[in-house]
């Protein structure tokens, strides 16, 4: 099967034909030759799912330093009971409502990166989200995944670069040229017909697409108008068909997030050839009465991601998926007077997948050495991105991110054998 994810393989072929290549491909090919990389069918089917926890999730009550006395001092009302949390080791535990994440951790499929943040943290949701989504602390730019899309050469004209569940294309996936399908409900992602004359609908759509395909090529926006509608219609038909045919291996939670993940699973199986997906859950801005809200949200997240992963596993795709959570910031170390917490800094990221190496990565942020009451980050979030880009997507991470960031070894060893070229590249 030819698709964009085979671009490394195709690169080798092109090189042997002696043609010039963009520098990143040359590097990949070079790496491939050094590492003796051969066609890796698993690579072609890889999927990356970005999971946003919007509002600023309280990291200290997600990945909990449950034996640290200082934690209980800072959180007199909000500290989670030591006999309720789900211990990962003697210092660190997961929030009690994340039982499914605990299972996945014990199975070896969940990595926890602690203390993730960036220098000079911004406390605005908006600005901090922008920093996370662009992987830039300076002037606004395209999304970090969008910049990755820009570097991928799509040799067989896939309709879409990404699929996002929700109502707007997330900045992370946006670039000048990326085509992101934003699917709120699959049934809305289609060209509607005239209910009174259903049998005319195919002819009506054909006529409509013809109006677009024949729009004069020299006119402004013609390049887009000529191609986009047919591509959209095609992808819509595939998604509609997948929604009809797809049989999940496990039931999904009956929550909007659960439904969203089910739609993702359908999209993955629709044959669209999409590699990157985005989904989000909001409501983490817990300035007041945090305990109940966060417990509900984290349980919701853990259950839905678990169902999605089990579903993928049931379809033999566990090794192909990598999910990554992020939130624009963690929250203030000390609770506030409303049984909540205010905007803070560093927080944990979770990575889930059949090729993920379970464990704790990075350092838990100090609870004594604070910066104006805020946690000091220990891992730059771009280290996680760089690892995903390079070791999961096989992309030139430093080029996409504009700088070099340390890699974290959360991609499982079995995969690293396969991905020897990238490992070799990252070592240089």
């Amino acid at each position: 099967m030819l698709d964009r994810r085979s671009f490394l393989k195709r690169g080798v072929v092109v090189v042997s034909a002696g043609l010039a290549l963009p520098s990143f491909l040359t590097k990949a090919v070079y790496a491939a030759e050094q590492g003796g990389m051969t066609a890796n069918p698993a690579f072609a089917n890889r999927v990356f799912v970005v999971v946003q926890m919007a509002g600023g999730n309280d990291g200290l009550n997600t990945v909990v330093p449950y034996t640290n006395g200082r934690y209980r001092d800072l959180r007199r009302n909000l500290a989670l009971a030591a006999d309720k949390v789900l211990p990962l080791d003697n210092d660190t535990a997961l929030h009690p409502s994340m039982t499914k994440f605990k299972e996945l951790y014990d199975q070896g499929n969940l990595a926890v990166v602690q203390g993730v943040g960036y220098p000079n943290p911004d406390f605005s949701h908006f600005r901090s989200m922008e920093i996370w989504q662009t992987a830039h602390t300076g002037a606004p730019t395209n999304g970090w995944v969008g910049r990755y899309f820009d570097k991928v050469i799509d040799e067989d004209g896939h309709v879409l670069d990404g699929v996002a569940i929700g109502q707007s294309a997330p900045l992370a996936l946006r670039s000048g040229t990326s085509q992101i399908a934003v699917v709120d409900r699959v049934d809305q992602y289609q060209i509607r017909g005239d209910g009174a004359f259903l049998k005319d609908n195919d002819a009506r759509i054909d006529a409509l697409l013809k109006l677009y395909q024949s729009y004069p090529g020299s006119a402004p926006f013609a390049a887009l108008l000529n191609k986009m509608p047919a591509a959209t219609h095609q992808s819509s038909k595939k998604l509609q068909q997948a929604a009809k045919d797809y049989i999940p291996a496990v039931p999904y939670p009956e929550t909007p997030l659960g439904t969203g993940f089910k739609t993702l699973a359908q999209a993955i199986h629709s044959g669209l050839g999409v590699q990157v997906f985005h989904i989000g859950l909001g409501g983490f801005d817990t300035h007041a009465y945090e305990l109940t809200t966060q417990a509900r949200l984290l349980g919701n997240l853990s259950d839905a991601m678990h169902a999605f992963y089990q579903d993928m596993a049931g379809h033999g795709r566990a090794q192909d998926v990598l999910l990554m959570t992020w939130s624009e910031f963690g929250r203030r170390a000390q609770e506030n007077a409303n049984n909540g917490t205010d905007h803070g800094t560093a927080g944990p990221m979770l990575l889930l997948g059949g090729n993920v190496q379970s464990g704790l990565y990075g350092q838990a942020p100090s609870l004594t050495n604070l910066d104006n009451g805020n946690l000091k980050y220990t891992v730059d979030f771009r280290s996680v991105y760089a690892t995903v880009l390079e070791q999961w997507l096989g992309a030139p991470a430093d080029e996409v991110l504009g700088a070099r960031y340390e890699r974290l070894p959360f991609v499982a060893s079995a995969l690293q054998t396969n991905r020897q070229p990238q490992a070799a590249l990252s070592g240089t």
Partner: protein
């Protein structure tokens, strides 16, 4: 060149009347290389036609108009139409009579919450969409929409209907006035103080957000100032804070940094007004804002000479927005082929424009949701730079929302389809009716082979004269195709 002249005339006739067959078009501008070259040399300009030109300026300087209104403006003439649009404040606004004023209810939501705040936000958005639909000062509302995209603020950070309402009124009051006064107003506007953190700015720790965006987005554009200028501006703008109890902006002298600052090479004890004064003396400001205006109203990437001419008008008129807009609408560029269908209708333009073009009445219920899923949630811009527009309005998912909403205008039960189809009842024959729709919805400017795509569906087996069956089936297919066409997506 005689041949190209003929081609031009013929193409225009096709454009206006659309009565020629597809075969003739192929001969005129189609496959044959030699003919194609000659046709290209002729570059027929649809805007040479008075009716097309009038519809064009009414779309750009407003939200489009019904066929009957266009007829009236054609009779009035182009320049009088531009002046009617530009000088409208001395006549009553129909929106004032037809649209109930929006009044925010400040009493807190009950316990348990009923979502009252969300409903008020929705009502506020509806109020503005209704104003756009019913106004008889379309340019004022259109300018207000432009300023809302440039000098923007949103619920995401402002979190207050009254503050955004106040900002909306500020933008409307200054919509065609002095840009310098506009900037002074905006710098003391509660929504803007919250949106760009002026309200977090103190003498001891000035916040740079507003100072930076003022220069980057609102006046000079990036690259025309230094980080030191940003810091100086931030210091100068300190002292204005929102009193959340009264909702008013107060000047607190103790929070104003009265010290000496050097800004764009000039040193003094500047305050915010001084900074704006210095900014407005920069040629780059006149050029930057001129370019933004031209790009929104005419076409993107204007030639430097065009921008320079507009900037001259801006500077010599004391930053009079109305004078620059007049220069734009009366410029040869504005009626050049380059300007025709050169912009993508924003969701608000599409929705409001469709209602105005089809002369459909509305209470705007559900319309804020529609523009939101099409990518433009008013009072909720994606970021400080407003809506990117252009190709972003045509990404696959939002395009589906656009054409599906247009579909619903044509097909939904108990909807306005009767009104749409009644629009040209006098047309007599099915072909005449299609011709009339093509004129009303896409200026009659539709290449014959593309017109044929519509006719193929709509005129197949059509009766000789209009019948209810024809209206109900084929005519509504045709109206749908015209509304969903690429041509209609463009302004």
């Amino acid at each position: 060149m005689a041949v190209s002249g003929d081609v031009k005339d013929t193409v225009q006739r096709i454009g206006r009347r659309g009565l020629l067959g597809a075969g003739l078009l192929a001969a005129l501008s189609g496959a044959d290389g030699g003919m194609q070259l000659q046709a290209a040399e002729a570059t027929p300009n649809p805007l040479d036609d008075a009716r097309v030109r009038t519809a064009h300026v009414l779309r750009r300087a407003g939200f489009g108009a019904s066929p009957a209104e266009i007829d009236q403006f054609v009779a009035m003439g182009y320049q009088p139409t531009v002046d009617w649009l530009l000088f409208s404040e001395d006549r009553p606004d129909a929106a004032d009579a037809l649209v109930e004023p929006f009044v925010y209810d400040p009493t807190p939501d009950s316990n348990p919450p009923t979502g009252k705040e969300g409903k008020q936000r929705e009502a506020f958005k509806r109020w503005w969409l209704l104003r756009m639909r019913y106004t008889s000062r379309p340019l004022v509302e259109k300018m207000t929409l432009f300023w809302h995209g440039l000098l923007t603020s949103g619920f995401g950070k402002v979190n207050s209907v009254p503050y955004l309402q106040q900002q909306n009124e500020l933008l409307r009051a200054n919509a065609l006035g002095s840009y310098q006064s506009m900037l002074i107003g905006v710098s003391k506007d509660p929504a803007m103080l919250l949106w760009l953190d002026g309200n977090n700015s103190r003498k001891r720790s000035p916040n740079e957000n507003y100072g930076r965006e003022l220069m980057e987005l609102f006046s000079m554009g990036i690259g025309n100032y230094t980080e030191e200028d940003v810091k100086s501006a931030a210091r100068a703008f300190t002292g204005y804070l929102v009193n959340q109890q009264t909702g008013k902006v107060e000047f607190r002298p103790r929070e104003w940094d009265e010290g000496e600052k050097t800004f764009l090479g000039q040193t003094g004890r500047w305050d915010g007004n001084d900074i704006i004064d210095i900014i407005c003396r920069q040629r780059t400001t006149a050029e930057y804002i001129s370019k933004r205006l031209f790009s929104f109203f005419a076409y993107r990437n204007p030639a430097p000479a065009t921008v320079s001419r507009l900037a001259d008008v801006f500077q010599t008129s004391g930053y009079n927005i109305r004078m620059v807009m007049r220069e734009i609408f009366l410029s040869p560029e504005f009626v050049s082929p380059q300007a025709y269908r050169a912009l993508v209708k924003s969701p608000v333009e599409l929705v409001v424009g469709t209602l105005r073009t089809l002369d459909l009445d509305t209470d705007a219920d559900g319309l804020p949701y529609q523009t939101r899923i099409m990518g433009q949630d008013i009072f909720n811009p994606p970021n400080v730079a407003g809506w990117p527009g252009g190709a972003a309005w045509l990404s696959n998912s939002v395009w589906l929302q656009r054409i599906n909403w247009l579909n619903s205008m044509v097909t939904k039960r108990n909807g306005p389809e009767g009104t749409i189809l009644a629009m040209n009842e006098g047309a007599g024959t099915p072909a005449g009716l299609l011709h009339a729709y093509t004129r009303d919805l896409v200026d009659g400017v539709l290449e014959p082979d593309r017109r044929a795509a519509i006719e193929g569906l709509a005129l197949q087996g059509a009766p000789a004269t209009l019948t209810p069956q024809f209206l109900n089936r084929q005519a509504r297919h045709a109206v749908y195709l015209l509304l969903a066409s690429p041509d209609y997506q463009l302004a």
